[in-house]
Amino acid sequence: MSLHLRMPRRGLSLSLLLAVMTFASTLVPVPVAAHGERATEPYIRTRTVHWYDVTWSTQQVGVNETVTVEGKFHLFTDWPDAASKPELAFLSNATPGAVMTRVESYINDMPAQQSVSQLEVGGDYSFKLVMAGRVPGRWHLHPVLSVHGAGPIVGPGHWVEVTGSAADYKLPITTMTGEVIDDLQHYGVARLQLWQAGYALIAVAWIFWWIRRPLIVPRWNAIRKGREDLLVTRTDDRVAAAMLVLVLVVVIFGYHHATQKYEYVVPLQAGSFKTKPLPLPPPEVAVQMKDATYDVPGRSLRLDVEVTNQSDSPMRLGEFTTANLRFLNKSLAVALAGVDPSFPKDLVAGSGLKLSDDSPIAPGETRTMRIEATDAAWEIERLVSFLTNVDSRVGGMLFFFDAQGQRHMVEVFGPIIPVFTQLQLAQRH
């Protein structure tokens, strides 16, 4: 019986301890490093914005020092119907919070502080992000194109180490009226807090004026007995009138003072800018997808495509890229050389690209070939859920190279069929 009595008490103690620990844990801010770059649905990542030629100027910066991320992005022609077209977009970056600050950003060399409107599907655009270190740590830095109605479409990410002390971060600016702001991250805070503390002090005084006297039960009883006259007195009236006057005087004085001090102000800037796609020559290769399967146990994407070389130079396929993953033809040196040393290794598939026929495609030749992109990255990057998408399609970019090493980019897209067993695969092919 005694055990029976002790157990609930122990259980209660443990529950209380757990509750206290849970509550205490919420008091200590614990930042997270991830920002969900693999959470976006594959149909968005494979068929909307394709990032390429992305470079990071450095992987280590001190506080206040800058790192530049630049490259290009292609807006995919087979843009899914489920996501809004890029009528309005904003070039941003993904980091876990404001650990790095945005110094400059450009699309096609145009300042991109505002959103960009009327981007053209099928077009290519250049971008540049200049970021400065603010909070020491190792941060995953991505370019992001946020598309209105489609959400943030994240580009490839690279770890960037910020060294030094956060206390050293400063962002001084001078306004067009000549006011020197020592540090933008603290600007105006002390003044604002001082005024709001003053407002709060008046409010506390008002509340205290009322709660210092007998409160709940006595006042409730007095109302029930019809003696409301005792609860709000002539003195209370005078205090209320004084409070009314005080508030109006403080607000009018403060407003007048602010308008005198800041004579020239501007509203928030809400416009957008427009820019045309880069003037790239049309690709001299035509690609038609004939069949596409994803081998679930083999983690392999197989594309049967019909390629027509429309140039006067032999062509070879060097790379297939989708959702920031790069599959390279390891037998083609110019394709391997296209991977910048700063590009994250985890986004370059180790097994590369396997082709049914890797010989050069002669000028004017039309060839049907099989492209196999096999890697565990399909799973790691959470890309296989394209099998459950509403339109069950896949897309990507193929990079062909001619005899002079010139790159020809072409889109490839079409429906995809999942195969779950080797027997099923054999029956299909």
């Binding site: 603010r134 105006g188 409010a203 039960v217 007195t233 403060g254 509203p267 928030l268």
Partner: protein, 279 residues
């Protein structure tokens, strides 16, 4: 204790011992009520006002001035009605806005700066506290919810902009950035990135409401005041409804549903064994 306090206690007919206990009860209720008002006001505001108060580069001349007063007056009016009708205490609006301001600052430091590394200059809040004081003061002077709604709610909506412009005007100085003129507030929003909050998502400065003095500011402030009047009456009514809440009549069916039916008889017959309890 004043003469008036003694008169109230006399009218309430509490025994000397009960008077002592009632003061303890006052203190307990103040603490509990503070947390209740705090949480309800804060949640309501987060759901309705949200982004316009989160970031400095959302505080525009149109929607910010309109939305913040009309989303905060609803709880101010409700709590004012409850405190006034039950206890003739004209502190409901002030308490709601004061605790909202306190809670907002805690969140700004704990979550916004602590978790997301946003600088405080990016997330400074506005407040309707001065309007709330006016609302309570006019209720005392008029003793009438009708008059308070007419004049107090109007001033509540009107005062928001000037009371906050006092310390926020500096954020709207012009500054050059990458060859474009912008405001300091815009620059703060640009420099300190919010990955999930692209620029275009801001709902600011829409339409052509710039007829008076080349700015929509006072038009928005007067419209906010106009809307505040009606919302004040609506949510005052809700507060009155809350004052009239009664315990739900507990019938036999309800008791049976929760296993309470017959418990008295069993208790009288001996100890009740809880299901699943071991002896």
């Amino acid at each position: 204790m004043t003469e008036n306090d003694r008169a109230i206690l006399k009218v309430s007919e509490l025994s000397p011992q009960a008077i002592g206990w009632s003061r303890t009860l006052d203190l307990l209720i103040i603490v509990v009520a503070a947390f209740l008002i705090w949480s309800v006001s804060h949640i309501s505001f987060l759901l309705l006002g949200g982004d316009w108060d989160f970031f400095i580069d959302w505080k525009d001349r149109q929607y910010w001035i309109l939305i913040i007063p009309i989303t905060t007056i609803i709880m101010a009016a409700s709590f004012q009605a409850i405190f006034w009708n039950l206890f003739r205490l004209p502190i409901g609006a002030t308490a709601s806005l004061l605790l909202l301001l306190l809670g907002t600052w805690i969140v700004r430091y704990h979550s916004w700066e602590g978790l997301a590394y946003f600088p405080i200059s990016l997330v400074v809040p506005g407040t309707c506290l001065m309007g709330a004081l006016v609302l309570d003061a006019i209720l005392v002077l008029s003793r009438s919810w009708l008059v308070t709604g007419m004049f107090g709610a109007t001033l509540y909506g009107l005062l928001f902009y000037p009371a906050n412009w006092t310390y926020m005007a500096g954020y709207f100085q012009p500054v050059m950035n990458m060859g474009d003129m912008t405001s300091v507030a815009d620059l703060i929003g640009y420099v300190f990135p919010r990955a999930g909050t692209p620029e275009y998502i801001r709902i600011i400065e829409r339409g052509t409401l710039r007829t008076f003095g080349d700015t929509p500011t006072w038009v928005s402030a007067f419209f906010a005041a106009f809307v505040c009047i009606f919302l004040y009456y609506l949510f005052w009514g809700l507060g009155v409804l809350a004052c009239n809440a009664r315990f739900f009549p507990v019938g036999e069916r309800f008791k049976s549903l929760y296993g309470a039916k017959g418990a008295k008889d069993q208790t009288a017959g001996g100890p009740v064994t809880q299901p699943g309890a071991s002896s």
